[in-house]
Symmetry: C2
Subunit: 258 residues, 2 copies
């Protein structure tokens, strides 16, 4: 099976012009089929402030009302996605921007209301690989923003880490898929203040210990859950670290194992 690399970048790269340019330089040179998934960075919050749209939180979690969904669609699918595509084209990488609605690629449903109504937040139900596969076979690189749809005309806000893991799982039947989460640290750290304290391998056994010891907490928990979800569903390789892990094999990072 051919290898497909699915690479997710977050706000720390999106918001830093030089870091983004370095990343895109390296990304565009990666050989073979690849998909880029991007988060939103600070631009959505900035636009909400400019427009006077209130950021609504419940129990510390952001609620996506209709105005917020519009902002996310404008910033993620519009400004960020199209600028990434244009920058990749300038580096001879033939990119096409995608939301989950495009090519009916990622179908989701509104997150069920239990204690909290998250509004227009979608949980992924299905990934359609057909149209994407045609593009990958024609040396086109899909660039995904974190928006999905319900096949009934409704767009949804979906976590970018989840988009990346679901794409990796969806493609696992036709490619040997590798999933890379790029962020500002060298990986999962034993000591959050020491970038050299990378835990190089996490498996389902030491994972529970790391949670119990409070090493993996807060925002790392959902990220790691996405990683294990992918590994359990035939994704061949899952890594967390700085973008340099993609371009320099000596760069320390965390690898997730079954």
């Amino acid at each position: 099976m051919q290898t497909l690399k699915i690479i997710k970048i977050g706000g720390n790269i999106i918001d830093d012009e030089q870091a983004l340019d370095n990343f895109l330089d390296g990304f565009s040179k990666i050989k073979g089929p690849k998909i880029l998934v991007h988060g939103g960075g600070k631009l959505a919050t900035k636009l909400a402030n400019q427009m006077g749209v209130e950021v609504k939180m419940t129990n510390g979690r952001r609620i996506t009302d209709a105005d917020t969904l519009d902002i996310i669609t404008m910033v993620y699918a519009g400004k960020i996605n199209k600028n990434l595509v244009a920058k990749l084209q300038a580096k001879q990488c033939n990119a096409i921007g995608f939301s989950g609605a495009d090519g009916n690629a990622i179908i989701s449903e509104k997150r069920p209301v239990k204690d909290i109504d998250y509004g227009f937040v979608g949980d992924v139900l299905k990934v359609n690989t057909n149209t994407l596969e045609v593009l990958l076979n024609n040396q086109v690189t899909p660039v995904f923003c974190a928006i999905t749809h319900d096949e009934n005309g409704q767009l949804f806000n979906t976590n970018a880490d989840t988009i990346a893991s679901e794409l990796a799982i969806g493609f696992a039947k036709i490619y040997q898929t590798e999933l890379y989460y790029c962020f500002e640290k060298n990986g999962v750290l034993l000591n959050v203040n020491d970038d050299d304290s990378v835990i190089e391998h996490i498996n389902s056994e030491n994972y529970q210990t790391l949670i119990n010891d409070g090493i993996i907490a807060d925002g790392m928990l959902p990220k790691l859950n996405n990683c294990f979800h992918a590994i359990k569903h035939k994704v061949h390789k899952v890594c967390i670290g700085k973008p340099e892990m993609l371009f320099n094999s000596n760069t320390k990072h965390t690898t997730i194992q079954a």
Copy 2:
């Protein structure tokens, strides 16, 4: 040769929820390869006002500065494009949203500065049909917003009528292309206040007379210039009228002839 229909809709449809739904119903049922091109409507101006971005005009023409380009990218490529794609998917039309940067489809250059510097406005240099053709052959419908790029990472604002005519010209070597400009009138009218006074055929001979008589003026001039540009470059058929002309052969409209 197979027929490819390229259909442009403007703000009067985009801004009217019911009219848009009716149009998309009909559009999704059109058999064979097709491309939708959409304008922006009033949403960009509304967002500019909300953000406190000034609309800059010189000699009655809008200037696209960096802030305005951001707004256009957010509204056209983000909100409008992704909602159109999601609505088409709900009607079983497998759409993918495009700017000219996606798939390197439409390359432009900054409009040369003579009397006026239009800012980030791009004049089309080239249409790349390769990736689009792969999608059309796979029953995918591209949906274009009015944004192009220069292959060096810069996005540009480009007139949606021009995008439509350049796509029709670009595809004329591989398809029998038909170009439809949908707007709020039945076509080019002899009397602008009488929707029954449609001029059913315009050719290069009566065109000059219609201009001299002041029948074709203002906004209709660039639209008609796009039409004749297309006809002169092997586009098989060019029509102007209400969207109904696409779905009901009895609907009066204007046909442009060589």
